[in-house]
């Protein structure tokens, strides 16, 4: 049973990701992205990563995706623009994609992956918090500078300067 659900979730993720790329309308692409994100949430749940699953829903779907859809809707005429796929490079692209899928698939099957000893579901929030504020405090803090820089940059580029 669990296997069937897993494959279903995986299929939704991949299929909607494909839709994001191939859809002719930006809005459809954005909606497809919603299903991709949901699929990923499902995968997190399968991994018993409860905290990440929630964050995925709250941040990606609740925040980023909504922002994207707002962006599309508020932009003049953009909904009616047809996105070209004339440069999809179908032939070469397919070969490359198949090559990657083949080698990655073979790798996934043949490699001795590290496996968690405990397969029982457990609370992860506390340990994530501990890791972020103990072992990985520095990357965590440095990320704040990254966000500050991103904010400054984004306002600089999007600000409407009368005199330039």
């Amino acid at each position: 049973m669990a296997d069937i659900v897993f494959w279903f979730v995986a299929f939704i993720t991949v299929f909607s990701a494909g839709m994001v790329v191939t859809s002719k309308s930006l809005l459809y692409s954005a909606y497809s992205l919603l299903f991709t994100f949901l699929g990923v949430t499902g995968l997190y749940i399968f991994l018993w990563a409860d905290f990440l699953a929630v964050v995925q829903v709250v941040v990606y779907i609740g925040g980023i995706l909504v922002l994207i859809i707002f962006g599309i809707m508020l932009t003049n005429k953009i909904t009616s623009v047809n996105i070209s796929h004339s440069s999809m490079q179908k032939g070469v692209g397919a070969v490359v994609a198949i090559g990657f899928i083949a080698s990655l698939g073979y790798m996934a099957i043949s490699s001795p992956w590290l496996q968690a000893a405990n397969t029982e579901p457990a609370e992860t929030t506390a340990s994530i918090g501990r890791l972020l504020l103990m072992d990985y405090l520095l990357p965590f803090e440095v990320a704040s500078l990254l966000l500050l820089g991103a904010l400054i940059g984004a306002t600089t580029l999007s600000r409407k300067d009368e005199d330039g």
Partner: protein, 497 residues
């Protein structure tokens, strides 16, 4: 070492981040037309950083902040290189007429944050840390490349950069996740220990992970075939930023590649001993050797065809990345300090060349070869300096470029007949590069009208900056022992955790 204890070794980085904050706050105070004054704060902060780097220099502590950072002479060398080039580029930006009419406050702030990211890249010994550092650098570069927001070329450059950058870092993350899946570790040393326990059945996954990681790191140093963004971005960005992008991220990228590959995928006996090889006989040195040959060849051949000097320099910087990569697969101390020497020389001459291009662009309104016609007669100082930079970039004596190339080639040849072919490709490429570098000199001296009116750049700053870059380029070609010793002493970063 615990987080609190580590703080006292973290002064340079703390000062650098404070610099960024002070810069953005000071921008609030200044009038719009005075916004360039923010750079005084930024440059002051960078100078202070420079001093603190020197003050805390010499010590070697691995595993600051719970094993995410290292403090050692190796990173010190690169930090100094990065801070110096940031200061030089900020000074260059003073006179850039491209930036006229844009707010300057954010420009210097973003540059400071980028410098912080670069500095973190050079000393990270944890996968998570290095990823965050790389992202800082990438995202700040996107903004800087697109800073001229009314210039379509700049916009285009920035957007291409964003998307290509996202693509590369995505692939790299995938590679890192494979690595984590095999080892369960994020610290370089721990990864090494875990890998050495693995059997041959994991080689496939390891190779995939190495290649994917190289996509991300190769993009930072613009190695073929991950170089496609380079010419477009370099051409569209403000020239001062092009200069910066061609030097600082490359230096940090090389520091990271050396550290990551040699620690995580290098054999245990590591540096100091003569037997230094790749872990589990993974063929990554050969891979980098191949990429190196491809990088310099394609960079050079395409550079020959360029009409724009800026674009020519963009391709030539790809070729230079190729020369520098030669030093990695030889897996020897002399290779690594050869690369460090090369990078230092390259910083001076490449910044210098871009500075002259920037000046010509502002002054004579064009970046094609024709814009340089007769420059040598009109402005002898610029002409001679540019000639010097070109000769140095070619790698001919008696300039610093020759010294850098010499050390790298010597290291490659020293490594034995395994890489003779690489040295051969390198030599051929150096000869080819002469063709397009000398073309600039030809245009400056042998084409266009000779003028009897000789002038200096109006601004004293321009003159002195050209001299600051040109004089060391020349004199380091004669007397370079201190630099070599410094690089040589900066090598002991393999202390173990």
């Amino acid at each position: 070492m615990s987080n609190l204890e580590s703080l006292k070794f973290f002064w340079p980085e703390l000062i650098l981040s404070a610099t960024a904050l002070i810069a953005i706050l000071s921008d609030l105070i200044y009038e719009r037309k005075d916004s360039h004054k923010v750079s005084f704060w930024a440059i002051g902060g960078l100078l202070l950083t420079f001093i603190t780097i020197r003050l805390f220099g010499g010590s070697s502590i691995n595993g600051l902040f719970m094993g995410t950072m290292a403090l050692d002479p190796f990173s010190e060398f690169f930090k100094i290189l990065i801070v110096l080039s940031t200061i030089i580029v900020m000074l260059m930006s003073f006179n850039s007429s491209e930036l006229d009419g844009y707010r300057k406050g954010e420009y210097y702030t973003i540059m400071s944050i980028m410098a912080f990211g670069l500095v973190m890249m050079t000393s990270a010994i944890d996968v998570l840390m290095f990823y965050v550092a790389i992202e800082i650098v990438s995202i700040m570069s996107f903004f800087l490349a697109g800073y001229l927001k009314r210039n379509p070329n700049s916009n285009e450059a920035s957007l291409k950069y964003v998307i290509y950058g996202a693509f590369s870092s995505g692939v790299m993350l995938y590679g890192l996740s494979i690595l984590f899946g095999l080892t369960g570790e994020t610290n370089f040393f721990a990864i090494k220990n875990a890998i050495s326990q693995l059997g041959p059945d994991s080689n496939l996954a390891l190779i995939l992970s190495i290649v994917f990681i190289l996509v991300g790191l190769g993009y930072k140093i613009s190695a073929v075939p991950f170089h496609f963004w380079t010419p477009d971005v370099y051409e569209g960005s403000p020239t001062s930023i092009t200069a910066y992008l061609s030097v600082a991220p490359k230096a940090a990228g090389f520091a990271l590649i050396i550290r990551f590959f040699n620690i995580a995928f290098g054999s245990n006996s590591a540096m100091g001993s003569d037997e230094w090889s790749s872990l589990n006989s993974l063929p990554w040195p050969f891979l980098i050797a191949l990429l190196s040959a491809a990088t310099m060849t394609i960079g050079n051949l395409v550079a020959i065809q360029q009409q724009s000097v800026k674009r020519m320099l963009a391709y030539s910087s790809i070729a230079h990345a190729g020369y520098m990569m030669m030093a990695i697969p030889v897996m020897s101390q002399s290779g690594i300090y050869g690369l460090m020497i090369y990078l230092f020389m390259y910083m001076l001459m490449n910044l210098g060349a871009f500075f002259v291009v920037m000046y010509v662009q502002d002054k004579f309104d064009g970046e094609n070869f024709d814009a340089f016609n007769g420059l040598g007669w009109k402005m002898p100082l610029l002409g001679i300096s540019m000639t010097l930079f070109m000769v140095a970039l070619t790698g001919l004596p008696p300039t610093s470029g020759f010294v850098g190339k010499f050390y790298i080639f010597a290291a490659v040849i020293e490594a034995g007949n395994q890489y003779y072919w690489l040295a051969f490709v390198g030599v051929i490429n150096s000869v080819v590069s002469l063709y397009y570098y000398i073309k600039v000199v030809r245009h400056m001296y042998f084409e266009g009208e000779r003028s009897d009116i000789v002038s200096l750049p109006e601004s004293k700053l321009t003159t002195s900056l050209v001299l600051v870059l040109a004089l060391p380029t020349f004199f380091l070609g004669w007397y370079f022992s201190p630099l070599v010793e410094w690089a040589n002493n900066s090598l002991n970063f393999f202390l173990g955790i």
